[in-house]
């Protein structure tokens, strides 16, 4: 399963179980899909699932805007 799909499945199950699927470019912040506690859970998921470490400067809106930007963030961290 690719990164986009894995992140999608996690967010859909955790934050929008009643809605089902989400578009990869759907704005998670503007739609109010994730709240502050959700960010903590999502960061923990990304770190544990993809073996990355999010530093303070990573925790910005640009990285959490959509499933696509989250996947790009994971790939950047993985590639060092």
């Amino acid at each position: 399963m690719d990164v986009v799909q894995e992140i999608h499945d996690y967010i859909a199950a955790e934050f929008t179980p009643e809605r089902g699927s989400l578009a990869p470019d759907e704005n998670l912040l503007a739609q109010g899909i994730i709240d502050s506690m959700g960010i903590l859970k999502l960061v923990t998921f990304l770190e544990e699932r993809f073996g990355i470490e999010a530093i303070d400067d990573d925790l910005v809106p640009e990285n959490f805007a959509s499933i696509e930007t989250l996947a790009a963030f994971v790939e950047r961290k993985r590639n060092g």
Partner: protein, 184 residues
């Protein structure tokens, strides 16, 4: 003479304790004025709902537009020196500095030597030590940065329960909040 000194010291402590309790009931402006008289260095446009600036408030420096909720405690010395009886005169201090435009949730504890930047949010109940960079949201014990302030801003601006009621009269605000949550 020694007994008299100790008694006077104890009375002074009790008087200060009562004054601080009364200060908690005073207006924000009056409380800040009184804290400044005790040595607290604090900027303009602040909201302060605590009086717990340790016995050394002159070691705390706070910038402009900072809100500090009830139960927040600034510790500027290490009380654990009590147990080192072979150093009965010892004290260990740590000044605390807070930048501007920051918010402290209820019941945070700020440990000696902590430096908190500007545009920071300290979550309720956090125990903070060390250096917190500008634009950080911190949470927990020990507190850690959980996101940048810009991310929390996006989350709050788009929150499903965001209502623009903060400056409304209480009755008007209550009506809007009740309606929003379907409370008749």
């Amino acid at each position: 003479m020694r007994m008299l000194d100790l008694l006077m010291q104890r009375v002074a402590q009790l008087v200060e304790s009562v004054r601080l309790r009364l200060l908690a009931l005073a207006s924000n402006e009056r409380r800040i004025r009184a804290l400044r008289r005790r040595g607290l260095r604090i900027g303009e446009n602040c909201l302060v709902f605590t009086t717990a600036f340790s016995s050394d408030p002159y070691l705390v420096e706070i910038g402009d537009h900072v809100a500090i909720s009830q139960g927040v405690e600034f510790l500027t010395h290490d009380g654990s020196v009590w147990i080192f009886q072979d150093h009965p005169e010892m004290d260990v201090f740590g000044p605390i500095k807070v930048g501007s435009n920051s918010y402290f949730g209820t019941n945070c504890t700020i440990l000696p030597g902590t430096r908190i930047g500007s545009n920071c949010i300290i979550g309720s109940g956090s125990v903070v030590r060390g250096v917190i960079p500008d634009d950080s949201v911190v949470l927990g014990n020990p507190a850690k940065v959980v996101m940048k302030t810009s991310l929390l801003q996006q989350l709050l601006v788009n929150h499903k329960h965001r209502l623009d009621t903060r400056n409304l009269p209480p009755r008007e605000k209550k009506a809007i909040v009740r309606r929003h949550f379907g409370i008749v």
